[in-house]
Symmetry: C2
Subunit: 246 residues, 2 copies
């Protein structure tokens, strides 16, 4: 007995298969029942990052939990680009924007990176994870991006795999057209993007990054972009040239 | 007697030439004196959208006005891409984001467009103008984008020049890779981007837009982007293929 509302889309950790019962936790039950006012019989869509996307129906909605009856497979799970974002955390609003937009644009792993000019408020991984989860639910991704613990820039640079292309946003330099700069790397299956803080990397940091063998320095037009804008723009270009925007 | 602070960058309407005195208005004088704590002798950078970018020095800073002595031309004015953004106004925060980012990314004119599913709060052109001005000051643009009065979609479509390429963000369709879709239009000197509201255009609207002769429909990857993310991503791609991100 559907009430005609469009189905809510939720991430769950349980396995998903037909005719399965899946429990929602307290915060999801609250969202479903109190915020979205769904009732028993209403449709719902579930994904878990492993078993594809499934239709389901609410069987019970209580204050502290809810139960979904899983019905049909809507979309098969499929491989997604291995695209990491290394970014210097910014102020709260800007960091949230980067997490949300990186999720929508299809980044698979997000690493906060501490650079010499990083000037972030407290880094709240739990908030970042929640923002990534909510953005994944909304943008119809089949996965949620992994949020990693903050790393120092040096750790990032020494730990990079030899076969990972590193797209280095070097504002204030003049690297020509980014699409052309990326084209020789078509076929690269492991990519990372590195974005500095407001004010950019120090000269020493920039030199060290640029000296890496797999580094592709890019610039983003003649104006000075804020760090969060640079992140969104470079993810867009990388996904369009190397990723899944085909 | 500079205090060593990095110069503030301000938009003024006066003509700019060497050894000229330029008055700042009340709100700029407040910003300069009270917010940024600048003093007589501190350096400042001015631009007006016509005469390039100039260095200057504060000669007087009072409560209601300030006077700048204009010194040297730093950058010549130069032609910028004729790139219009037609967008359906969104909620307040999202609309601000679109204005700020479109400015950074180099859009020359911004038109709010009313579509059948537009669900905007009050459209405040004065706020949009201020956001565009502040973003221009910060991103080192030599111009500020022009903010136009809201127009109905039909007016936009019937008023478009025959030689303006219209990049139509058609989420939920499958137009292939946007870079490839844009490449045949390299050399086009008049471009417009059209972005719908959350929930997209109605089928009737989408059909009408797609039937225009100069229309280039594009999609932005397999996920569902929010309208403000779509705006930032498509401006990035248009500037990279057709614009001034060379």
């Amino acid at each position: 007995m559907s009430t005609g509302k469009s189905p809510i889309r939720l991430y769950v950790t349980s396995d998903l298969k037909a005719d399965q019962g899946v429990f929602l936790d307290r915060s999801q039950a609250h969202y479903v029942g109190n915020v979205m006012r769904r009732q028993v019989g209403d449709p719902v869509i579930l994904f878990n990052g492993r078993n594809g996307e499934w239709s389901g129906e609410f069987q019970e909605i209580k204050k502290n939990a809810a139960l979904v009856h899983v019905m049909e497979l809507l979309r098969e799970q499929k491989a997604e680009p291995d695209l990491r974002l290394y970014f210097s955390p910014l102020k709260k609003t800007q960091t949230s924007l980067v997490i949300q937009k990186a999720t929508e644009l299809g980044v698979s792993e997000i690493y906060p990176v501490l650079t010499s000019r990083t000037n972030a408020e407290k880094i709240r991984l739990d908030k970042m994870e929640l923002q990534a989860l909510e953005a994944s639910e909304q943008c119809e991704r089949l996965t949620i991006p992994v949020i990693h613990k903050p790393m120092k820039l040096d750790q990032v640079l020494t730990g990079l795999e030899a076969d990972r292309t590193l797209v280095f946003c070097n504002e204030r330099s003049d690297e020509g057209n980014t699409i052309k700069a990326l084209q020789p790397f078509i076929g690269s299956t492991k990519v990372a993007i590195l974005i500095g803080p407001e004010g950019g990397f120090s000269k020493e940091e920039a030199d060290k990054i640029a000296s890496l063998e797999n580094c592709v320095p890019v610039t983003l037009g003649p104006r000075v972009l804020r760090a969060e804008t640079a992140a969104i723009s470079v993810i867009t270009l990388v996904q369009s040239v190397l990723g899944d925007w085909q």
